[in-house]
């Protein structure tokens, strides 16, 4: 019974994930493309990396939108027409990256460290550790 419940939950989660992912990665109104990213949760920190090819390093912005999410944006060094990416049936340009990233554990946004190497943005966020109360015997 419990197994069936979890199987149903997993199926539902997969369906939600698929629905959310089946949309274009670009938005022609904002001329933005969503970058690929990866979140690694380590014992003491969370490392977020974001792939930003063509990004102008000087324009990369990382902001804590709230205590658990980041807003990342960067302008590209040049405007890229959709036709250059092989999309010939739509007209438009891409000129920036934009992404919202939800951090799955509690972190200290004020101590965020940012590096940009080889077109990969790396953000390190120290984790906020829960305060344990020690019981006296």
């Amino acid at each position: 019974m419990i197994d069936e419940y979890f199987q149903e939950m997993e199926k539902w989660a997969d369906q939600v994930k698929e629905t959310l992912s089946e949309r274009p990665c670009w938005d022609l109104k904002t001329c933005a493309i969503e970058p690929l990213r990866e979140i690694t949760v380590k014992p003491t920190e969370v490392i977020v990396t974001v792939d930003l090819p063509y990004a102008d390093k000087k324009t990369v912005r990382v902001e804590a939108a709230d205590t658990s999410s980041l807003e990342i944006s960067a302008e590209m060094k040049k405007k890229i027409r959709l036709t250059e990416l092989g999309i010939t049936h739509r007209q438009g340009v891409i000129q920036r990256f934009h992404a919202w990233i939800r951090i799955p554990v509690t972190v200290n946004m004020d101590k965020m460290k940012i590096e940009h190497k080889k077109g990969i943005l790396e953000i390190k966020l120290p984790r906020k550790m829960p305060t344990h109360t020690r019981r006296k015997k």
């Binding site: 690929l36 792939d51 090819p53 890229i80 080889k118 077109g119 990969i120």
Partner: protein, 251 residues
């Protein structure tokens, strides 16, 4: 048309050379194989000679200059065959597809099969000198790789189409090699693709200029973004992360 099983058929559209080396390049970590193979097709002027068809695959075609193409195609040059897919192979179709391609290769008297792929490393963005490794199906193929100066992947797990190629080739006693360049797991990696091509040249003598590939690195990363995203989903289904596991081989 060669019908190899009920599910998968390989349709030849031009004369296919026999006795060639067959390269495999399928979407995987860093899209290393696909990026490398795409560069090979351009540099060597390989032409499409066959494609794979199966009603078990998702109903997908690739349109190019207004005409439909299969997502899994075979290109050929004088002594080279190259099987490439531009979309990730669904996990449950890896065995039937690879079995069909390997059987077809046998019919074409392929002398060696070589898979081009990657090996993800932590903090890849900090690494400037990429290392690469080789694994082989037989002791002779392993010796060949060593003699050509390739570092051997001595222990570990391999997950994906290249694992099936080595497994089936080992069962048949035929030579196959997998080349793995250190790469990003989740991001397209043209530098790793250039590295794997350098290793391929050591084995086959197929020398290509990788400077153009490196120059176009940013463009390739942007263009490959969606294929990488789809590949991430499929890698997760096939438990690709198992390659990170501590190996336990009972001897």
């Amino acid at each position: 048309m060669v019908k190899l099983s009920e599910e998968v058929e390989i349709i030849e559209t031009k004369k296919v050379p026999t006795g060639a080396t067959l390269l495999f390049a399928f979407p995987d970590v860093g899209l290393v194989g696909v990026i490398a193979a795409s560069h090979l097709v351009d540099e060597l002027g390989l032409t499409e000679v066959a494609h794979l068809d199966s009603n078990m695959l998702p109903p997908l075609i690739i349109l190019h200059e207004g005409l439909p193409h299969s997502s899994i195609r075979i290109f050929a040059g004088q002594d080279t065959l190259l099987a490439i897919s531009e979309v990730p192979i669904p996990t449950d179709m890896i065995y039937p597809i690879m079995d069909a391609l390997i059987d077809w290769a046998k019919n074409k008297n392929v002398k060696m099969m070589i898979s081009l792929s990657g090996m993800p490393i932590q903090d890849r963005q900090d690494v400037t000198e990429l290392k690469s490794f080789a694994a082989a199906s037989t002791a002779e193929a392993l010796k060949t790789a060593q003699e050509k100066g390739l570092e051997i992947l001595m222990e570990g797990y391999m997950v994906g189409p290249q694992a099936v190629v080595l497994q089936r080739a080992a069962q048949a006693g035929s030579p196959a090699i997998t080349l793995l360049a250190q790469c990003f797991y989740n991001y397209p990696d043209p530098e790793a693709a250039a590295e794997v091509l350098k290793q391929l040249a050591k084995i086959t003598g197929l020398k290509v200029n990788v400077a153009k590939l490196l120059e176009k690195g940013e463009e390739i990363r942007l263009r490959a973004r969606d294929v990488m995203k789809r590949t991430q989903e499929e890698m997760s289904k096939m438990k690709k992360g198992q390659e990170y596991d501590i190996p336990m081989y009972v001897s």
